[in-house]
Subunit: 85 residues, 2 copies
C-alpha cells in the first residue's frame, strides 16, 4: 500500500532556536504585536510504500533517527494517511 | 485571547525542491525503498494575541505574504488553536 506521510521536526523546548528568534525579531520590526515563542522547524512529506500503517510509521521513525532528525536538539511527530493500492 | 498558531510552508507542486531531492537520494542510499515525491518545507509555530480566531488567521496570512512565505514558489496553510485568556 502507498501512504502519504508527514514528518514534523521541531526544536526541543529549551533549545535555542536562532531561526525562530530571527523571525520573531523581524516580525516585531515589521510592526506585528503580541507574538511570542516563535519556533521554526521542518516538515518532510513523502509517498511511502509499506504493508501496513504500523510498518509505515516504523520505517519513518527509523528514517528520523538515521537522517531526518537530530535527536539531541529536535523532536519529531509522524502522521500517515493511506492513499491507495 | 492567546492563540497557538502553526504555519506550514511547502514548495509548490512543480517547483524543483532541491532539499527534498537530496533527502530522497540519501534515504535511498541508506537502503530505504519505495519512497517517492519527498518534499521538504518549513513549519513556523508561535503564540499570538488576537481578539478572535478569524483575526488571528488574518494576521498570520499577512505575516506569510510579508515575510514567511515566498508566494512564487511556496504555498502555506494555517492552523490556529485558542489557548486561553
Amino acid at each position: 500500500m502507498i501512504f502519504q506521510a508527514e514528518v514534523l521536526i521541531t526544536p526541543r523546548e529549551g533549545v535555542l532556536d536562532t531561526q525562530g528568534k530571527a523571525v520573531e525579531k523581524t516580525l516585531t520590526h515589521l510592526g506585528y504585536k503580541g507574538i511570542d515563542e516563535v519556533r521554526v522547524g521542518k516538515i518532510v512529506k513523502m509517498k511511502l510504500e509499506a504493508d501496513t500503517e504500523h510498518e509505515a510509521v516504523k520505517i519513518l521513525e527509523s528514517m528520523c533517527s538515521d537522517l531526518l532528525c537530530n535527536d539531541l536538539i529536535e523532536t519529531f511527530s509522524i502522521s500517515v494517511k493511506e492513499t491507495g493500492r
